[in-house]
């Protein structure tokens, strides 16, 4: 190292302070480990705060036929059966406990007349299942966990710190390297185990509901350390984002608007979802609704700014709308000057969530690299090809806890932290400081311009609909931008310099974009959020595998991993979903499910 740097030591390092990170930290600390949570932003600002609709859990407080089994079935069917079924199994059972736990930690939920936790309908869930507080469930969840975490002995938080590299000892992850955003000081954190709870990535697309933090640093770091990234081709377009005014484009409009009765109309006033999905209609799964809006726009029936109309005003009373959707009312009033209790909203698809991420073991959330765990949006497996609304807040609670506990187990047996090789630190330092150091004159590249160019390429060529041709174009663009990114130069100093910070963000986003595009090329079929114009149908073989991207010999390779198939007893559960269609069952499961049970009607 050419300069001094701060050092920290802990048993468990948790990267990210959203719901998954906070829940992991609580679990690790309760298991007796010193736990450090590192957050790119201030505490409580993580993207979890944006979640609106609720937490899906089979409490059956309103709809008595619901249960964890039906939740299991809906989640598997929503994910087009390429989910890790064991993750879905654990998830649908345990999320019930996690909801009650959150309540016992002070989290509020809306109530039924009987005083139980209220639940609302949501896309592709068989029954009313989403536990919520108005349309601000994420805020409630993160504030509750945040408060619980800071009052749990053994936890500490490092805010506004960007980590750029995982450090390894042998084949094992033993810490991380990064910088403090406010001072520019470098920092080395040595840890017995690392939980990657760094969330997803949307910022490489132009229109996204993600905050600036969604650059995929965590997954990129894990990839560089040898971890497998799975299901990267599956990027969720939320069907309803704001599309006007231009500055608000991409901002999320919660699915709860439709959950509370709102409907989509095209420019002719037609409720077009009745045509695309006569059963679930406006509450079809997100991939289907997003594609339907897209098709309406292409057919010339879009709204003035290229989307659809979302109408709740004619469906519920103004007072009801204000009470159930307070932050939507506020958002449209403040940003667009629209009173949603009187007029329809103009909405269109926005990049919202990434089903893919670090490949993990279902029980322990362990990645394929020893010492590295992953949970929440940074991990893959639970959601398969398409996530159902309400399953992300549950995901972060269930697997945040599991990752924290497993990481604590791993860290406890490890004793003294190994020394990190000087070369690793020197490399990491050189990479992060390069944009401030080198003098390239005319050849220097601006990180903002590269970011914008990447957004153009991904939005246009790797967006909601893709083809081999468009994806290859995106791949070429990513290759060129990766070359140019080596010449990024940031003016100014190291104290709070967003131009410099963006350089690292761009590097992470390029790695992740490459994984998205390479996997999307390899998946020559349409499934869930992956819509290939050139392969509009599902492929039998691709229905039995996940794709992973991993680093081999310095280059990214895409490989197939066979899905663990559901045992017969588990396949039978699928029939519990109201939306089960035996005809759609792939051949490898055919004949294993009896006719749908009576509850299905």
């Amino acid at each position: 190292m050419s300069e001094s740097y701060q050092t920290r030591e802990c048993d468990v390092l948790v990267v990210g302070a959203g719901g998954a990170g906070l829940r992991a930290a609580i679990a690790a600390a309760e298991a007796g480990c010193s736990t450090l949570v590192v957050s790119k932003s201030l505490l409580g600002k993580a993207h979890t705060v944006m979640a609106e609709g609720g937490i899906a859990a089979g409490l059956a407080n309103l709809d008595t036929p619901d249960s964890w089994e039906v939740h299991f079935a809906d989640t598997m069917l929503g994910g087009q059966l390429i989910n890790n079924w064991r993750m879905v199994d654990l998830y649908s059972r345990e999320v019930i406990d996690r909801v009650y736990e959150l309540e016992r930690w002070g989290g509020l939920f809306d109530r039924t007349d009987d005083g139980l936790i209220m639940q609302r309908a949501f896309g592709a869930h068989s029954w009313k299942r989403l536990c919520h507080v108005g349309d601000r469930t994420g805020l409630e969840l993160i504030r509750t966990l945040q408060d619980r975490m800071v009052h749990t002995a053994g936890t500490d938080v490092l805010m506004e710190c960007t980590l750029t590299r995982l450090l390894t000892h042998g084949d094992r992850v033993c810490g991380a390297f990064g910088y403090l955003r406010n001072s520019g000081e470098l920092i080395v954190i040595r840890a017995g185990a690392v939980v990657m709870a760094s969330g997803g990535w949307g910022r490489m697309f132009r229109y996204t509901s993600n905050s600036w933090e969604g650059t995929g640093d965590g997954a990129a770091m894990a990839y560089e350390a040898g971890a497998e990234l799975q299901d990267m081709e599956f990027v969720q377009f939320h069907p309803t984002g704001m599309i006007w005014p231009p500055g608000a484009r991409g901002i999320l409009v919660t699915e709860a608007v439709r959950g509370e009765g709102g409907i989509l109309r095209n420019s002719e006033g037609e409720r077009f979802m009745e045509r695309y999905d006569p059963v679930k209609k406006d509450l079809s799964s997100r991939d289907v609704v997003a594609r339907s809006i897209y098709k309406e726009v292409v057919a010339g029936r879009g709204s003035p700014h290229g989307g659809a109309f979302l109408d709740i005003a004619s469906r519920r009373s103004a007072a009801d709308i204000r009470r159930r959707l307070p932050s939507m009312c506020d958002q449209f009033e403040a940003l667009a000057g629209v009173d949603i209790s009187k007029e329809p909203m103009e909405v269109g698809p926005t990049i919202h969530y990434t089903m893919g991420g670090i490949r993990v073991d279902a029980e322990t959330a362990a990645s394929t690299v020893p010492g590295l765990y992953a949970a929440g949006e940074a991990a893959a497996g639970l959601h398969g090809a398409n996530r159902l609304g309400g399953n992300s807040l549950g995901d972060i609670l269930v697997f945040g806890r599991r990752a924290g506990e497993a990481a604590a187990d791993a860290a406890k047996g490890r004793g003294a932290k190994p020394a990190v090789s000087k070369k690793q630190l020197a490399d990491a330092e050189a990479a992060v400081l390069l944009p401030l150091a080198h003098d390239l004159g005319e050849k220097a590249e601006n990180s903002y311009i590269l970011h914008r160019a990447l957004q153009e390429a991904m939005q246009d060529d790797a967006g909601i609909g893709r083809s081999e041709e468009s994806l290859n174009r995106a791949l070429t663009a990513i290759g060129e931008l990766t070359e140019r990114s080596k010449r990024m130069r940031a003016g100014g100093g190291r104290v709070l310099n967003p131009g410099w910070h963006t350089c690292h963000d761009v590097s992470s986003m390029l790695t992740i974009s490459e994984a998205i595009v390479r996997c999307a090329i390899a998946r020559r079929e349409s499934r869930g959020s992956q819509w290939r114009f050139d392969f509009p149908d599902r492929d039998a073989h691709l229905g039995q595998i996940n794709l992973v991207a991993r680093k081999r010999g310095g280059a990214m390779k895409v490989e197939e991993r066979a899905l663990a198939l559901m045992p017969d007893e588990v396949v039978t559960r699928l029939a519990r979903s109201r939306f089960f269609d035996p005809v759609a069952l792939p051949s490898h499961y055919a004949g294993k499910v009896a006719a749908p049970s009576s509850e299905a009607h």
Binding site: H47, S211, V495, P498
Partner: protein
């Protein structure tokens, strides 16, 4: 089907790009933005930028335009840009606001001045050190239910309705910024401030919480310093009635605990709730 079919996601360009057209939202006008720049120990002052105006743009859009088109190291904090995270607090034309919710077309015509929050130590440009808020939060004992209060809980909606208002807080700290106890009297070391009275109120009023934080609020919290000028309520972007629905009820509870003779007798007879933070 053609690969290059138009994308709904590929519609109007973002602000600041290309010529003024109805799709781009560019109005053809420019906005004069005066932004505070500098850091302690260095040069400090205002930089002025001419920013192309886009329909209904917010102050944060203009700051981002500056970052992309000239001043890449201009520092501001932001996350969601949707009024939900409370990161982009600043003072626009002297008023504490969220930059992401402040539309420029609602401000008086003329230069728009953007400064960092005044009551917190400056780090750089529009970013201040708000860490003391997180220290204050650690002093407030968290939600605590009776261990034998079995799941599932039955709570009536009406018992929670008044808590929702408190729970809307997005921790933008604009109330902490504007409160004269901090801003003019610099008493933050002895004063939790409006944000944390809201937090304490949400705990004290929770039907399942068993702690009593009144002594803590009176002593370490400095609740008495608040003389209900309601400045905090005026700046709250979540429209929480901080003074009326959090601070005054807490003041009443503290008064009950210490000055009500009937309550005093009752306490002597039946004891009191678990107390925290006494003197």
């Amino acid at each position: 089907m053609a690969a290059a079919a138009p994308q709904p996601g590929g519609g109007p360009p973002q602000q600041g790009d290309g010529p003024p057209t109805p799709e781009s939202g560019l109005t053809g006008e420019t906005i004069t933005l005066r932004v505070f720049k500098g850091q302690p120990g260095g040069e400090m002052g205002y930089a002025t930028y001419e920013v192309p105006e886009v329909t209904q743009m917010v102050v944060l859009d203009a700051v981002h335009w500056v970052q992309r088109n000239g001043d890449s190291d201009l520092a501001c904090r932001w996350n969601c840009k949707a009024g939900k995270c409370g990161s982009c607090s600043a003072e626009v034309n002297g008023h504490p606001v969220l930059m992401c919710k402040t539309r420029i077309d609602t401000l008086p015509r003329g230069p728009v001045t953007v400064q960092p929050m005044k009551s917190f130590p400056l780090i750089k440009d529009l970013v201040t050190d708000v860490s003391r808020n997180y220290e204050t939060n650690k002093l407030i004992p968290p939600f605590t239910a009776a261990p034998d209060d079995g799941t599932p809980w039955r709570i009536q909606q009406m018992d929670l309705d008044r808590l929702y208002e408190h729970r809307r807080c997005i921790e933008c700290f604009l109330c902490q910024d504007v409160c004269h106890v901090n801003r003019n009297h610099d008493l933050s070391a002895r004063f939790f401030g409006p944000r944390f009275f809201v937090r304490a109120a949400s705990l004290e009023m929770h039907p399942k919480d068993i702690l009593d934080r009144r002594d803590l609020l009176r002593d370490a919290g400095g609740l008495g310093y608040c003389n209900i000028t309601k400045c905090c309520t005026e700046v709250c972007p979540e429209l929480i009635h901080i003074t009326d629905n959090a601070i005054i009820p807490l003041k009443e509870r503290v008064a009950d605990a210490h000055w009500d003779p009937v309550q005093w007798v009752a306490r002597k007879l039946r004891g009191r709730r678990a107390k925290v933070g006494a003197g």
